[in-house]
Symmetry: D3
């Protein structure tokens, strides 16, 4: 295997400086791509409440934007964003759409196995939602088992890696230093900032909010709503700005491009 | 239940003439929306080969565009597009990502049950991929069972409807009359046309292709590749134009807006 | 593979003009059969209400009779009839017994994989119930995946085909021309006619019925019963006669024998 | 609950002395039936090799005949025979069709829950195949859980009972006394005898066979075929006669009618 | 395969006369062990009520003690005891913890497949709970299928055997002769005796109890509690003594050591 | 709800200073216990390789000892230790027994639901294996959904908490300070130390080992073995001593007793 990042000659001048969106590739272009690079980025978000002023699609919007930017910088192809994840604890708020853990486990498993069948050897999941982490990790183990059972030629070099853009140290520390305790744990100013940068119409929804319920544990969805009545966990999203969002995007993309490059080069 | 279409006062002037994207709503806006309308649109596509010149994301791109347009015209909210579907038979072509039928069944089930928990009573699935049809229908039955077991208050009025934009009579007949036998059954000029309208960069990929393998039956993915070596089933996507795509979008959106309105009004 | 229909020398003179019932074969006879023909017929019905005068077993009785007749005419072996299918929407009527879609999916999957393990390459499912169609199609995709994973020698030539006897054009058009709108969509005169031919004791149950609820959409079982209070969807089964049933059986068997023969010969 | 056996006034004189076949009932007749009796018989067989001279459908044919006879004698309704069961260990012989244990578990579960939804309180499974026993028992526990979760009104009186006609003491001892060690454990003269009585054309397949492999343990299907090369486990089915079959049917039906009556009367 | 029992040179003098506990082995010791012996003992119990004086862990405690003793006498390694089993019918009593049949089926399946991957060819399950029997047997069939699909080198010699220590004839007859009808069917004096021998502190819980409800059928957990109000089924556990327990342990271990030895030697 | 820790009057003087083992309770004692305390401890380990000198049962032995000690100090009942967990990546080493993530998810789900049915409101899982974390968290969400669907009276106060004894800050920092980089990530001196304290016979297995492979990422089990040939990830377990183990047990139990007490008191 001779993985080279940025070595792929793009298929049109349009794409040269752009994200490499798998959904805009043809299968013949993917075949060509695989001769040079075995890596792929798979973004996943969630469709769930983000407080009274945050967009329900926050986790998918942000994960997608980070993934596209990492693709642009690394030359690694990016698959479509899976917009639905595991959001059981948010089901007490209208608009939340959640996959049961067992469903998400199978979904991620099937996508990973599909990619393995084509010879993708390094799957880099860019995740936008904390609630997905556990199940995605479980899915890795289940996919390794299947790939091994199927006796695919790549079984020995098939590897999956999960990164959460909001937990990238450069992002996390910046958010803490900028917002302090008001960063909170859900509907955080950092993620809302990124959505403001991506979707300016969301700015109109920004209003000052009362002091949020303090961040704490997460149990079932009824308890969640009782504990965090407006959906926020200790956060003040009114602090967010589109400029901050642009900065977080850059920091996340920069760090993850480095991680992805290393992941693909890993012997 | 007093469902009214178009009665929703949009939440900002921006949105007034726009699609109502659930992912850009806050949960409080969804709560408000549900007082006026119990309907929701859920687009689903697939990520699979579409011949040597068609985009792998064709089915998601097209379903999403139709769904957004129907939302704009009907004032009914539209959920994020599920980009992965059941594409087992296309797995012989690089880039195809497929959910097993059992996985897709659970995915659709979970999304439907989530919506039911919030009081959405009319779920209108706009589908872009023939391979999803069977499993989505199966999921309806499974979701009805769950909603009934959960004793949700809306159990008696919870209804799901599947529409396939490419099978809308107005679209189907126009495609047949315009392209004749060259419409084929996969990577059809009609769906490719719509992608050209949506993503102009795809125009560069359009090249004249040799005569395709004739459309025929679909079995497993190895047989599919042997039978349809370049992925097309009897189609000549080179006939497609962005203008045609715009027209198909209008025809599909027009017919489906009517269907959705009736569906929501249904006693 | 050299499939020959009608080439099988039957194992006894009794069977020569008879259906070839797998359940009356010995395994050594099946082994012998497979040297000449790789095809098998698998009938499936449903156990569900068919209006106040129709038999609950209508879909299994009719599918079985058509399958047996096709076997007789084609010389292709016929497996036992699966009498239970997906009938969730009929559960509001006593006597209906339904498999959840996920269960039916696994059931069909397992039967197909069993047949593949013995070298049956052409599985011809004769179905008597519309509610089974979606799930059977889903099961095909799931079975192809398993057969491929198992590395069975026949993987490249294993093919499944679903036919619905009541949707055979010759049957469908004759029913429409004979009964017009009174054919309806459930507990139709055409299917009831076939049961009258098969089980003369059912004639006593035939009585004139009030005008049925018009055919319409199908949602969950409570809605179904409210919408179609006596179980009929726009049909007048009192129009049915045993003679008609005999005729439908002949038309269905004739068309399907031709289809099956072509399916087995398919290269 | 006041269950009365034999109290049901049959719906036609034809049926008066006959088995009460659910598949020949209408739903209105089932509704009527349930006013008098909450019991139902559910036969299950298997489709699997029965040695070089025995019918593949032996277990379904025999279970069905016993169930019909018990219905006739007890006045309890009998559901269609499930012809496919768990026969994994017989898959080394052509013609065997097997459900995985997990599939059979769900199948039986779904049928039991369907019956519970209509108010059937006593489900009497008449089984013809040893390999089904374990999974059917597992399904009982799973169904009790579901019925309890669904809060059906009958939850407290819903009961399932499994009987195996070939293990009825009167049958078992007669077979042992008549055939001694030649009864064996699979493709036994007693079960073959019953098929000869039911399907006289099977008589032609009866030939003297070499001494069988002795009965022993059952592991996977390859081991099974190596251990029992012609499929028999210590049995000499050539000893079977149609007359014996008639006698076994009578003994089984007599004992099971008594058991069923007690089961239904049980407070 | 040249299995030799008792041929294993233990890894330390401590272990020489001891049970060979897998959990105290290192992986290198297991590797060494497998050169001499392909057998392994897997104990399974249940965590469920055992009447007002019996320990909830009775089934795990007893199965473990028998398994350890068999290991000591046979030199066959013993895996950790699975303490949770299928105890749905006991859920009406506080403290019972039950796996659904489908869960237990998968659990046993996974453990068997793990052992097969290492080359263990003879799995000897020592069970302490009647409610587990059906599901364990189902799991055997499911595991054989998986091992066969995985094409493991040992597929042809992989065999699983279930033994229930309380049904060993030497134990069963002794219990009947010692306690007569007071042995009953749940919370029996024989199993309680063994727990008294193993955990002397349990002696304090022994008190004379009123006449128990007579043993009878088992349906769902609410019916169970109504039928057997204190959890006992016809048993008088006050008859139990630690001395009896010691004797039962010896009888069970002696018989099962013989059975295990034969099982491993089996060609 | 008035949870009181340490308020339970033990059932015998023996138990007064002891762990409260659920498996040694009777159901009547559990009923009594629940009047005072709604908490329960559930230990879970894994059965997997721990390097060439570490016990395969390390994770279960350690989790169990910590759980028992926490029970002793808090007066909260402790359920039996689940000895098998998710250890897919260790399957390359003989003796490892692993549950697939989907199986472990269902297992934990079923145990949690059982406890909820009895009114346990605070489930405190003491885990000994990093590989279990993701799946246990997934299981919490799945269990909350089920408990909510079942309409159990406690649904609003049912809460699950996962703690990993080796990640308790007091333990983790002490290990780092004592062993530095030699703590590593698998078969660590801290966990081995605890096993030496618990099972002195393990001391004989302690030998000096060559420098381990450095800790790094975890992918599938074949990659794991290639990357970490003797099973260790950067650790030097030869540094471990029984005395250290005793100290770690005390630190873990002390911190977790405090956490559990707070968890139960939580309003």
């Amino acid at each position: 295997m001779t993985n080279k990042t940025k070595a792929i000659v793009p298929f049109s001048t349009d794409q040269e400086q752009s994200s490499l969106r798998l959904d805009l590739f043809t299968w013949t272009e993917v075949e060509e791509y695989l001769k040079d690079c075995k890596g792929v980025i798979l973004p996943i978000g969630s469709t769930e409440q983000h407080g009274p002023t945050g967009a329900i699609g926050t986790d998918a919007l942000t994960a997608e934007s980070v993934a596209l930017e990492v693709s642009k910088r690394s030359g690694v192809i990016v698959a479509p964003t899976q917009p639905y994840g595991m959001a059981e604890h948010h089901l007490g708020f209208p608009g939340t759409m959640s996959l049961k853990p067992s469903t998400l486990l199978n979904l991620i498993h099937d996508l990973l196995v599909s990619l393995a069948m084509h010879g993708f050897e390094r799957i880099f999941i860019v995740n936008g939602h904390g609630g997905n982490i556990a199940t995605i990790k479980s899915a890795f183990a289940q996919a390794y088992r299947s790939v091994s059972t199927m006796n695919l030629p790549l079984a020995n070099s098939f590897r999956c890696k999960l990164v959460n853009w909001f937990m990238v140290p450069e992002v996390f520390h910046e958010a803490k230093s900028r917002y302090g305790d008001n960063e909170g744990q859900h509907a955080t100013p950092s993620e809302i900032a990124l959505t403001l940068y991506l979707e300016p119409m969301l700015l109109k929804k920004q209003v000052a909010l009362p002091k949020p319920a303090p961040a704490g544990p997460i149990y079932d969805y009824k308890d969640f709503r009782r504990r965090y009545p407006d959906g926020r966990m200790g956060s003040d999203p009114f602090l967010a700005s589109a400029n901050d969002g642009k900065m977080f995007l850059d920091k996340a993309a920069s760090a993850l491009t480095r991680d992805l490059t290393n992941f693909i080069k890993e012997p």
